[in-house]
């Protein structure tokens, strides 16, 4: 293979990207070397098994991916506002929308939420770490290397261009030759390992490691949403794994599962993809519901209205999420009966979701509402999400879906549910738990600026798309007719508003790090749940003494009784897991194996897989059982953290 086949050539934008990647990499290496931080990076981050640090790494990666996906979005919006300028050609546009969708769902939304789960859930349920800390590190590094693999595709080998859904036969070897589509398959496969392991990890953590006395129906609602999400992950992800593996075998080894020839069934890919894909929507939106519930309850200064109904509606949503997948392809030709069945199951989902909306309103009713930044994000979510939900019911009617299918109406709908649901929740949750993670709040004034830019920009961007969709504009086109022009220009203006909002948010991180006052207590927002009972910064063992939980809003009850998580009379040595570099090394070898498969260099793939098996054998004979934190050390840590 020639070097010019290996690197993508001929596109000025991509040359620019190459230069900036080289510069940023050089800068990072220089800074780490100059300040002698390599050892710190390895000891504190790359080898950590601490759920809080893993969570922070998830969120930093997700923010980077949000930037990447956002840049893709802005490029598409520029192209559609100035279609005559030839800013992107058809091929490049296809690659950009494929990357945008894949990055935003798989490498932004899920890791962001999993990062928040990592940080918050063990603290909320009174655990000292997740059930399997080593596996947790494996999960993170598999996501990280999967994301890296997918992201290098645009400079090495070429990006996938068959849409984030990668429908066959278009995505098959016959119509999409070359490594591009393999990057999609292997990148998702590699990060999918981590997601599945995370699902198992949190399921066990929440079922087995709750503080003494905490019954299932006394768990904070975010932990509940994580548990339900974990179940969906464990049930849905194997379907994606199998589908991706089948397409990989199709493309690399010439089998005929999804091909047009040899009795292949291209439509089976669509079917399997959405069998995972629809539950995936709930994987990214249920934790968001959990975050909003926590924030609304905290800042309305009321117990969450209808807690049990909230939990049950999540469970019902999780069950129904496996019964509606066909509504993504009503027009494929299954016939009226199949479509009717799935139309009805789709509309059923609106019922538990409606219950949740009314419960949030019920929580706000007669509350003493504090309009903090996380609360404003949550309040912005409710009406925006309702618009997305109502248009979702419109799309769910099979007969009318023939009109909306593949139009900008659909694009507007899923951005209304995914941005107003998931992205608002990511921002809200990050602002809300930021003091717990970094020891200081984000600046409120700058935070509100970023919120208003983002929320208004969001509506300006996506509300016109409903109408341009009804005017007949299809999705995934790089050029438009004059009739669609005005609404597209408005959309682009809104998209840049959102970009401004994100930029201000990032500036706020820098500003707050320098100028905001440090937290003196661990209870930044006068919280209700156990994560606020720990001091800030949270000691690595979380709880010096694990409290006995007596009801919902455990910390509120503790505060009334004057209890803390530092009961000096009852201190015992704490058993903690040791750091290990194995997950990082194992997954970097897996990255090499996957990269080999992408280019169909089987020697490299086989060598890499053998390396992974060797690492697994190492793990099997690893008898490191962790270490004990001595009582004296706990006393010293807690006294200095609590200012005693």
């Amino acid at each position: 293979m020639q070097l010019d086949e290996f690197f993508v050539t001929g596109e000025p934008l991509i040359y620019g990207a190459m230069v900036s990647i080289a510069l940023v990499t050089a800068a990072i290496i220089f800074i780490l070397t100059y300040f002698k931080k390599w050892g710190w990076l390895w000891r504190e981050w790359l080898t950590t098994v601490d759920h809080k640090k893993i969570g922070i790494m998830y969120i930093i990666s997700a923010l980077a991916m949000l930037f990447r996906g956002g840049m893709d979005a802005l490029m598409m919006r520029i192209q559609l506002a100035f279609p005559g300028m030839n800013f992107l050609n058809a091929q490049h546009y296809d690659e950009v929308f494929t990357t945008h969708g894949t990055v935003m769902i798989i490498f932004m939304a899920m890791p962001f939420l999993i990062g928040l789960m990592n940080i918050v859930v063990p603290l909320q349920i009174g655990a000292r770490d997740v059930a399997f800390p080593y596996l947790n590190a494996v999960s993170f590094w598999s996501f990280f290397f999967g994301a890296m693999l997918f992201n290098i595709s645009f400079v090495i080998g070429g990006s996938p261009d068959a849409g984030w859904t990668s429908y066959t036969p278009l995505a098959g070897a016959a119509m999409s030759p070359g490594p591009g589509q393999n990057f999609y398959l292997l990148g998702l496969q590699l990060s999918g390992i981590g997601t599945l392991a995370t699902g198992i990890n949190f399921m066990v953590t929440i079922l087995k490691m709750r503080a003494p006395g905490m019954k299932m129906f006394q768990m904070p609602i975010f932990s509940w949403s994580t548990l339900v999400t974990s179940f969906i992950i464990v049930f849905a992800f194997p379907i994606l794994t199998v589908a991706l593996a089948l397409m990989t075998i199709d493309r690399i080894f010439g089998s005929q599962f999804f091909t047009l020839t040899g009795e292949g069934m291209p439509m089976m890919w669509t079917n399997l993809f959405w069998m995972w894909g629809h539950p995936e929507v709930y994987i990214v939106v249920l934790p968001a519901f959990g975050i909003f519930s926590e924030i609304i309850s905290t800042f309305a200064r009321k117990q969450l209205f209808g807690y049990k109904a909230m939990v049950w509606s999540m469970i019902v949503i999780a069950g129904l999420s496996f019964l509606v997948w066909v509504h993504h392809f009503f027009t494929m030709g299954m016939g009226a009966f199949v479509n009717s069945v799935f139309s009805i199951s789709t509309m059923l989902i609106a019922v538990p979701t409606g219950v949740k909306i009314f419960n949030w309103l019920g929580t706000l009713y007669k509350g003493r509402i504090q309009l903090t930044t996380p609360m404003l994000w949550s309040l912005a979510f409710i009406p925006s999400f309702v618009i997305g939900g109502v248009t979702g019911v419109m799309l769910g009617m099979a007969a009318t879906d023939y009109q909306y299918h593949n139009s900008y109406f659909l694009v507007a709908h899923f951005h209304y549910v995914l941005i107003a649901g998931t992205v608002f929740a990511c921002f809200a949750g990050l602002v809300y738990w930021y003091p717990k993670m970094f020891g200081h709040k984000l600046n409120e004034r700058i935070g509100k600026w970023s919120l208003w830019f983002f929320v208004i920009g969001f509506h300006v961007c996506f509300f016109p798309q409903y109408f341009v969709g009804l005017d007949g504009m299809p999705r995934r086109v790089f050029t438009i007719i004059p009739e669609w022009m005005p609404l597209n220009v408005i959309s682009t203006v809104g998209a840049f508003g959102m970009g401004m909002g994100f930029a201000i948010f990032v500036y706020n991180i820098y500003y707050s790090l320098r100028y905001n006052e440090r937290e003196k207590s661990g209870d930044s927002w006068d919280g209700r749940t156990l994560e606020w009972a720990t001091p800030t910064p949270v000691p690595f063992y979380n709880f010096a003494t694990v409290p006995h939980v007596e009801g919902l809003d455990a910390y509120l009850i503790m505060k009334e009784k004057g209890q803390t998580t530092f009961d000096e009379a009852n201190l015992k040595p704490i058993h903690m897991p040791s750091n290990t570099g194995q997950p990082f090394i194992m997954m970097s070898i897996m990255f090499v194996a996957s990269f080999g498969l992408v280019f169909e260099w089987l020697w490299m793939a086989i060598a890499g897989l053998i390396g992974v098996i060797v690492m697994m054998a190492f793990r099997s004979f690893d008898y490191n059982d962790g270490f004990y934190v001595k009582v004296d050390e706990i006393k010293r840590t807690e006294r200095s953290a609590r200012g005693l």
Binding site: F235, M275, W325
Partner: protein
Amino acid sequence: MAGHTGRFPVKHVIGFILSIALTLLALWAALGSDLPTVWIIVSIMALAIIQAGIQLFMFMHMIESESHNGHVPWNMIFHGLVLAAIVVAGSLFTMYSGHGSGGDHDGDMKHEQQQEQHEGHTEH
């Protein structure tokens, strides 16, 4: 950890060898044997059931007293089975009840004719 008793895990090694052997046997049945298709399917299914049994009893501690307080986790098994049923039955339902795929050819022809008529109507 209580797990390190120092005994050689005979059961696990036997289970591991058995599961590899069964997989190879299934591979041979599909690729190397001259069995009629129906019997290939039947034999693969039978091998799959044995394989599942090995996983559940030799690795998943289904009936060991220290796991799950001695109870068989019927709840989880039930959920797993429901999901598998949804995937298999759901795929058959969506893939084979439409116009495009499967069914006998006569049926297909009728459907296509109906569809053409239908499309004719909408154009008026």
